[in-house]
Symmetry: C2
Subunit: 204 residues, 2 copies
DNA sequence: GTCTATACAGCGATAGAC
DNA sequence: GTCTATCGCTGTATAGAC
C-alpha cells in the first residue's frame, strides 16, 4: 500500500474514533511509525486529509446509488439500498458526527453534503408517491404528511450515528438503522401490506 | 451579577457557539474583559465549568417535567410540554451537540444523561399506552411498533439539534421540533382524531 | 521519500504581587 | 478577588540533511 493511502486509512480511523479535533498529524504519523515531517510531505495540512476522505465518501455513496437506481421500488430493494448507504456513511461517520467541525474548516463540504441530502429527499418523495399511487400507502395521508415523511427520512439518515449510544445500539449498526428508518413507514401502509412489511423488518 | 455567574453565562454561550473543544478559558476570560488567572480562581479547570452547567441543565429540565406531570395526556399539553423541554435543551445544546466530547471528559454526565432519557422513554410509553386504551391510536398497531415509537421519540429529542442545518430550519427551533416530533404520531391515530391533530400541528 | 530539528502559536493551569 | 507573568505541554507547519 502506498504511503499516501496508509496515511488516509489511519486518518479515517482516528477521525472516526477520536473525532476530528482531537486527531493530530503527530498522532497519525506515530501510529504509522512514520515521522510527522513525512506525513506533511504527502499532505501539506490536515484539511487536505479531510478533503480527500470526503471525496472518497462522495465517490462511494454515488456508486451505491447508481447501482440500484432501477430497482428502487420493491420494498426488499429499498431496504437493501438503505443498508448499503448506511454502511458507507458508517465508514465515513466522522463527516456526520463532526459535521460542524468539518463544515467550519471546509465550507465546500457543507455545500456538497446539503446537496447530496436534497437529492436524497427528492428520491424518497418519488418512492412515497409511487407507493401512494399503487395503493400500498393509505389514501388518507395528506400531502403535507408525505412531505414530512421525506423530511423525517433525511433527519434519520443524518442523525443515526450520534444516536446509537442513546439507544443502546452496539452491533450491526447499518442494518439496524436501515430497518429503524424503514419501519417509520409501517403505519402509513394499508392493512394487508403492513403484515408483509413487518415480517421483512423482523421483530424488534 | 456575580463574577462566577458571568463566567458561567459566557462559557455556555461559547460552548454552544464554538463547541467545547474550541472554547478556551483564555477566550472566555477575554470576552469578559477579565484575566485568565481570575477565571481560574473561580473555576479551577474547564471541566468544572461543564459540570456546573450540566447541573443547571438537569435542574431546569427536571423542573419542567415536574410542572406538567399531571396534565400530560391532553394532546395540547403534550405538545406544550415538548416545546418546553426542547427550549431547555436548546439553551444547553452543547451537551447534545458535543455529547461525545463532554462524555469523554466527564463520564458522570454520560450516566446521568442516559438515565434521563431512559426516564423519558418510560413516560412516552405510558402516554402511548394511554392513547391505545382510549382508542385514539389505531388498534392494529403492534406492541413492538409501540416500543419502536418510543425509541423514535428518544432518537428525535437527542438528535434534533444537529439536524436543523440539514433540514434548513432557522427560527423557532424548539417549537418547530416539538411539532416535528409530535407529528410522527399522526398515522397511528384513528381517522377522526387525525384531523384534529393535524390542525393542532398546523400546516408544515 | 523520509528523516531530524526547529519555529511558532495556542492551550490549561499555577505562582505570587497587589 | 483580580492582576501579570510564566511554566509545560501539544498542536501545525517548515527547513534542510540524507
Amino acid at each position: 500500500m502506498r504511503t499516501r493511502d496508509k496515511i488516509l486509512k489511519e486518518a479515517l480511523k482516528q477521525f472516526n474514533g477520536l473525532g476530528v479535533e482531537k486527531t493530530t498529524t503527530r498522532h497519525i504519523a506515530s501510529a504509522l511509525g512514520m515521522s510527522q515531517g513525512n506525513l506533511h510531505y504527502h499532505f501539506a495540512n490536515k484539511d487536505l486529509l479531510i478533503k480527500e476522505l470526503f471525496d472518497n465518501f462522495i465517490q462511494k455513496i454515488t456508486e451505491v446509488r447508481k447501482y440500484e437506481y432501477q430497482v428502487l421500488f420493491k420494498k426488499e430493494d429499498v431496504l437493501a439500498s438503505m443498508d448499503l448507504s448506511f454502511s458507507v456513511m458508517y465508514k465515513y461517520r466522522f463527516l456526520f458526527r463532526d459535521n460542524e467541525t468539518v463544515w467550519r474548516r471546509l465550507s465546500s463540504i457543507k455545500k456538497a453534503m446539503l446537496e447530496l441530502l436534497a437529492g436524497r429527499k427528492v428520491e424518497i418523495k418519488q418512492i412515497i408517491s409511487h407507493y401512494v399511487k399503487q395503493n400500498i400507502f393509505r389514501p388518507d395521508i395528506s400531502d403535507s404528511q408525505q412531505e414530512y415523511l421525506a423530511d423525517q427520512f433525511v433527519f434519520n439518515i443524518t442523525s443515526w450515528l450520534n444516536a446509537s449510544e442513546y439507544l443502546g445500539v452496539t452491533k450491526q449498526k447499518s442494518n439496524y438503522f436501515a430497518k429503524f428508518t424503514f419501519r417509520q413507514w409501517l403505519p402509513y401502509l394499508v392493512s394487508e401490506e403492513m403484515k408483509n412489511w413487518e415480517e421483512l423488518l423482523g421483530e424488534k
